[in-house]
Amino acid sequence: MAVKTVGIAELLVSDHVDDTLVTYSLGSCLGLAVWDPLARCGGLLHSFLPLSNTDPDRARDAPATFTDTGVVALLEAVLGLGASKPRLVAKAVGCANMIDDDRYFRVGERNYTVLRKVLWRNGILIAAEEVGGTMARTLVLHIGSGRAQVRAQGQRREI
């Protein structure tokens, strides 16, 4: 079994059934897991900020930095492995209101809104989510089974 870490502002896709993708410290960031049960492939995104128009150069070089470009890049990458949009199972984690965040910017909530906008545009509904609140979370995706788990405050649960 290969455990592969997805860092902040990164995304990773896989079609190896023994792969497990994990991303840590999802505070206000968005963690998005997508998986195709037929093609048996999927991916994980850890995006940081909602909109790429604040820094188009960075969005071009590192699209996973922003939720709008990151979700699109994740979808393109997983479609490249043979996934199909209508079959994709999407699970969202994170988008919390972290205590030291500036409430004016509402980064977590805006990450979630942008996610919903991009998924709606792509005809994908959210199958499960654990978002909001004030805690940091870890998201794990098993490529072979599509099972996704959230870890927070010492607890672990399937979503």
Binding site: P37, R87, V89, W120, G123, I124, L125, I126
Partner: protein
């Protein structure tokens, strides 16, 4: 078995939004028809075999409550599920809708995921994922 649906709302944008959410819901869809008010909806119900109605309340010509009362009085309401999708928030009105036999009420703006869960329960299908 394919479900024929009638979508009722005076806003064409809302009708198309609901229809898109319907397509993504995984429900086994047959024909999807539209109506811009309660009067047009009753005409569509009289002329077509409909299995499910998704309707707004506040509409010109004939509103959703009057339409539902007509459906109840004719016995039609007892034969199919109805989901109200509306900005309506008056407790008494929502209570009246439930008493009439409305299957579910979604407040606008509604999440397409909630429509999917609602239809899965009302129609008894399950969408993977």
């Amino acid at each position: 078995m394919a479900v024929n649906v009638l979508v009722v709302d005076d806003s064409s944008t809302m009708r198309h939004m609901v229809m898109r959410a319907l397509e993504l819901s995984g429900a086994p869809l047959g024909q999807v028809l539209e109506a811009a008010n309660g009067r047009e909806a009753l005409d569509a119900l009289a002329a077509n075999w409909i299995d499910l109605v998704l309707t707004d309340i506040n509409m010109p010509v004939m509103d959703g409550v009057e339409m539902l009362r007509a459906m109840r009085d004719s016995g039609l309401l007892a034969t199919m599920p109805v989901v109200v999708i509306s900005t309506e928030a008056n407790d008494q009105r929502i209570h009246e809708l439930r008493d009439m036999g409305v299957g579910a009420y979604l407040r606008k703006p509604f999440r397409p995921e909630l429509l999917r869960a609602t239809l899965e329960e009302l129609l008894g299908y399950h969408h993977e994922g």
